[in-house]
Amino acid sequence: MPQVVIANRLRDGIVVFLGADRRWMERVQDCAPAISPEDAEKILDLGLQAERDQEVVGPILADVEQRDDGWFPIKRREAIRAAGPTHRADLGKQAED
């Protein structure tokens, strides 16, 4: 199962996803998931280092799957974090697309 590191950015709390070159991306579609469990461990370590460097807070691994418009979280909690509140399409990342 591909996994991505998801966290909140320290300064503004915005949900971010670990992309290529250790960059934190605001859109889940731009994330760089790990395919193997070994790689997942590596990217989580990058996330934890970023937490120690005051970049993000609470990095965790989340399962993602490939959809028509790119990677998207499987679990409801992370899906809501990637999109926004389900009852208000005008809020969160879903409003910015």
């Binding site: 909140n8 320290l10 300064r11 503004d12 709390g13 915005i14 949900v15 937490e51 120690r52 460097d53 005051q54 807070v57 609470g58 499987i74 679990k75 409801r76 909690r77 809501i80 974090r81 926004g84 509140p85 389900t86 009852h87 208000r88 809020l91 969160g92």
Partner: protein, 552 residues
Amino acid sequence: MYRYDEYDREFVEQRAKQFARQVERRLAGELSEEQFLPLRLMNGLYLQLHAYMLRINVPYGCLNTTQLRKLAHIARVYDKGYGHWTTRQNMQFNWIKLDDMPEILLELASVEMHGIQSSGNCIRNITADEYAGVAADELEDPRVYCELLRQWSSLHPEFSFLPRKFKIAITGARHDRAAVLAHDIGLRLHENDSGESGFEVFVGGGLGRTPFVGKSIRDFVATRDILAYCEAVLRVYNQLGRRDNKFKARIKILVHEMGAAAFAELVEKEYEFIKDGALELAKEEVERIRMHFAPPAYESLPDVSPALESQKAEDTAFATWCKNQLAAHKQPGYAIVNISCTPIGKPPGDIACDQMEALADLADEFNFGELRVTHNQNLVFTDIRKQDLHALWQKLVPLGLSTPNHGLITDTICCPGLDYCALANARSIPLAEKISERFADQERQEEIGEIYLNLSGCINACGHHHVGHIGIVGVDKKNSELYQLMLGGSADENASLGKILGPGFDEDGIVNAVEKVVDTYLEIREEGEKFIDTYRRVGPGPFKENVYRAPA
């Protein structure tokens, strides 16, 4: 309402600056997230699913229009244009940036507001009857003591690192609108046989994963001794409350495990040492604070307003609103007005910045510049001349704030749930909206009558599901939301905890189940019998049978 003096003002400003310094240390890496967490929580700042969430205290629900306009300003400038009233009579913003916090706290301090102790393992915002000071059934105004307790509990040197959070509520009326039996300490003002006023003290109530109704540990504590008595309770709890398990750390577990009588004995022993000491309330200070809650300049009016009566006769929508939203005022010619922030099909307790500003204007025009927040996530105008009701209503209608559902099934208490909250297991707001739409028909709602429907997105019970007449709690089952139904809860002076009726439901299933519960009630109720009384008379049996009957 209470207004800050120079000391209170200085206190809040110092605290805002202190937090600015702590934010700086955090951003500079001098504080780890682990070290910073309790500091930001002590200032009301959580990290939720989408962003930081800031909880701002509205002390015992009292708000003036300057403050409401400031909340609107913060919603517009620092958030996404709306806020959310909570069950602790507070306001929450959901999209706050840590970078903005120092500025926001200074903005709040400028209108005598803050987020101090709106979270964390300390004494939280004191809550009270939303009709305090004006209710016809009130014995004494609890706000005086709320304010004294607020000051005593602010940055308490001994009680800022308690085993767990600590909630205090006070009622001064016969009918308990403050849910005091669901609090760590619940205080009920009453008079003893010699006409002296004091408090009955309940401890160990609370919801969450192990709910309890509070137990009375003392029938009477004279008002002047209430700080000393609370300090004794808190000291026993601080020393003996469990710290080995977060889920067993509330005072309710301590009281349950040792027994209320044994707990009371320890409190009495401690109280013996400290009563008549430095915490005894000085008359002058009590009177100084009481002055802040002096009634506004009421006009002397007849209790019946002929204008109102003819307006009601001419306008059925207005009459419906009056029938549901008004409560009896102690001053003739005035009414208490409930303003619903839970319109049909909308998130309970959410309010837009434009609505806040418009309400501030209305409160200035009609309500002496003040308003109240209720633990049911609605608002109250406490002092409306009956002759003004129609004019007020006409202005509420276009604002979307005239829903006449006070105490009806669509007047739901609902936590933010998985749409916002990092602790939630299931969504709650979309379900509240669906149930509300199912019961949207006003006539049907009124036919059903008083039902409190409370909804939480996890067992932590921020939506008070245990004390809803109908309670719903969401759980996560393999990435599907499952909702459990409980019946028979109540938060008033006859508080009881709801019992789970049977297996849970999916989102559509639970809406149908609620409807079946209501239909069963309508079928079997006796003349004039409220839902909760029917349930208490017949028990879960008939409800269970109808809800779980296989489709024919």
